[in-house]
């Protein structure tokens, strides 16, 4: 099964996918932006500030999703010792860090008009900052440790330990009294967001996921070339 992610088999498709995403990205972005900024209605309580949700929520979801992938692949890498999985996690981590930081930043910009403060040491916000720190540790492990085997081992360990934080982030709004509202969208239950707002939210999520895929593929391709370049004489 792991042969399917063999770089030499998928390299050709990486190039094709990058070109495909590049060709459709701006059209979908313009549609999503039109829905988010023009067509979706203002909230009856929060007014137009609710539009921040269209970048804040997808950013937070991507930050969480990326770390979940990172932890899962790190566990697989620990068990099966597949080098390629480390290349994948190395390519995911900067994307996750970027979106976690964006979620915190846009959350702060949303907090000022709704809560009257830019920042609060609230359980949800603090656990998101801790998530960003885990991302930083993961990236630093790769940057600072020269021995690649050791760097992979330590970064995988960081990802596995950091995974404990994921359910804490998810359930922080239920376990503690927080300024942050409880989740309004449930995969397995009722969602409390009207379809006129849910559609732009999903469109923005799709656009940002496409962007993530694009950056991931470019980073992964760079990693493959870096390895090939190192081994060019051995080829």
């Amino acid at each position: 099964m792991f042969d399917l992610i063999n770089p030499s088999k998928i390299f050709y498709w990486i190039e094709k996918l990058i070109n495909f995403i590049n060709s459709i990205f701006f059209i979908i972005l313009i549609i999503a932006m039109t829905f988010a900024l023009v067509l979706s209605p203002p909230d009856y309580l929060q007014g137009d500030s609710v539009r921040i949700m269209y970048v804040h929520v997808p950013s937070a979801w991507i930050g969480l999703l990326s770390f979940t992938c990172l932890a899962f692949l790190s566990i697989l890498s620990f068990i099966f010792k597949i080098k390629n999985l480390n290349l994948i996690t190395k390519s995911i981590a900067p994307i996750g860090l970027m979106f976690t930081c964006l979620a915190v930043l846009t959350g702060s910009l949303w907090g000022q008009p709704t809560w009257g403060t830019w920042w609060a040491w609230d359980a949800r916000i603090t656990s998101m900052v801790i998530l960003a720190l885990f991302y930083v540790l993961f990236i630093l492990a790769h940057k600072l440790i020269e021995d690649e085997y050791k760097a992979n081992k330590i970064s995988s360990l960081i990802a596995i330990i950091g995974a404990i934080n994921i359910p804490i982030i998810k359930y922080s709004v239920d376990w503690w009294n927080t300024l942050h509202q409880p989740s309004s969208i449930n995969v397995y239950g009722d969602s409390y967001v009207h379809s006129s707002m849910l559609l732009p939210l999903m469109l923005m999520l799709f656009v940002l996921l496409l962007y993530c895929a694009l950056i991931f593929l470019m980073k992964y391709k760079t990693e493959i070339i870096r390895i090939k370049k190192k081994n060019i004489k051995r080829l």
Binding site: G47, R51, V55, L105, L109, I215, K219, I225, K229, I232
Partner: protein, 77 residues
């Protein structure tokens, strides 16, 4: 109408800052990632060209990735 769209009923500064920050960060990351990728492609192509004719042929025959990188690097030039 345009005035209303920009001011967002007084929330414009927060809404536009959020969108602007997101897209500026995304654009910078895209630019940097693309630049690094092109740099590695170029360096790889350069190292290949520094090999002897026989060695280069062998590398290109043995590695599909090497020939694909060389092709895409030639395209970008």
């Amino acid at each position: 109408m345009i005035q209303n769209f920009i001011s967002m009923n007084g929330y414009g500064i927060y809404v536009w800052s959020s969108f602007f920050a997101t897209f500026i960060v995304c654009a910078i990351v895209y630019y940097k990632t693309n630049k690094t990728l092109k740099k590695y492609e170029k360096e790889f192509a350069k190292e290949l060209s520094e090999l002897s004719e026989a060695e280069r042929k062998l590398v290109l025959e043995k590695s599909k990735i090497a020939s694909q990188v060389l092709a895409s690097s030639n395209k970008s030039i």
